[in-house]
């Protein structure tokens, strides 16, 4: 887990940067996933559901 930068080989540095970008990318996506869903979504779905009726 704790693989610190020791020799700072260019390859390690590149990998470190890519991993950092990956972490931020997931954070960016998860931030939206974790937002509360606007009521509008469920209202629209409810309306569409009612349109098809139950009987």
């Amino acid at each position: 887990m704790d693989e610190r930068r020791k020799g700072t080989a260019p390859l390690d540095e590149a990998r470190l940067r890519q991993r950092a970008i990956g972490v931020k990318l997931r954070q960016m996506f998860d931030d939206v996933v974790n937002e509360p869903v606007p009521d509008e979504f469920l209202e629209i779905l409810r309306k569409a559901d009612g349109k098809n009726g139950e009987g």
Partner: protein, 203 residues
């Protein structure tokens, strides 16, 4: 073609089936919103797109086999919707311009966390097929094969798009080659590295 569906679910019919479908669809809304946000880069447009995709999925529920990958299926619907909308508004570049300006204004908010805004901006500079491939694989949790199904292309194509996107993103962030004044090259990458280190330290 993926794992075999849950037998019990395939036997459901009518209202019971609709209820199961709807429950799964509702659970996917946050993910659809997130994917739409990365495609459009604009929160309002993204929610319009996610709502359209949600309704399309609901209307097409009979053609979906319960127990198979609904997330991939709905992402594919959303993506198709995005590109058909884009084609329709091909000539209304005015709208795109306005959206771009809104994005830039949001980015200039001094209170916003720095690294994420830089990343968002850098992402918006990628060609859309690279951006979607990177998001699906790098953030959406899809395997290359699933991402290929969603995008309607070969697995190798997805792999090369993801790899090109990663390289391009790093290049943009390191050189500061985006439209923002008063910030030195390399600052974005530095803040992303620092942020990522802080995040993994918290875990």
């Amino acid at each position: 073609m993926g794992p075999s569906p849950d037998v019990a679910q395939t036997l459901l019919e009518g209202t019971a089936r609709d209820q199961v479908f709807q429950r799964e669809l509702v659970a996917l809304i946050p993910h659809l919103r997130a994917f739409a946000r990365t495609l459009t880069g604009d929160a309002t447009q993204a929610d319009d797109l996610a709502q359209d995709a949600m309704i399309k999925a609901w209307d097409a529920r009979a053609s979906f086999q319960l127990g198979t990958n609904m997330k991939a299926w709905t992402f594919m619907i959303l993506r198709n919707q995005f590109y058909s909308d884009k084609r329709r508004s091909w000539r209304s570049t005015q709208l795109d311009q306005e959206a771009a300006e809104r994005t830039l204004v949001a980015v200039d908010d001094p209170g916003a966390p720095l690294a994420l805004d830089e990343l968002r901006l850098a992402m918006s500079m990628l060609p859309s097929e690279q951006r979607e491939a990177l998001i699906l694989v790098g953030a959406g949790g899809f395997a290359y094969e699933e991402a290929a199904d969603i995008c309607g292309c070969a697995v190798g194509t997805v792999k090369s798009r993801v790899s090109r996107a990663r390289k391009a993103l790093q290049g943009i962030l390191e050189t500061g080659a985006y439209d923002r004044d008063g910030r030195g090259a390399g600052d974005a990458m530095r803040s992303i590295l620092a942020d990522a280190e802080r995040l993994s330290a918290v875990r």
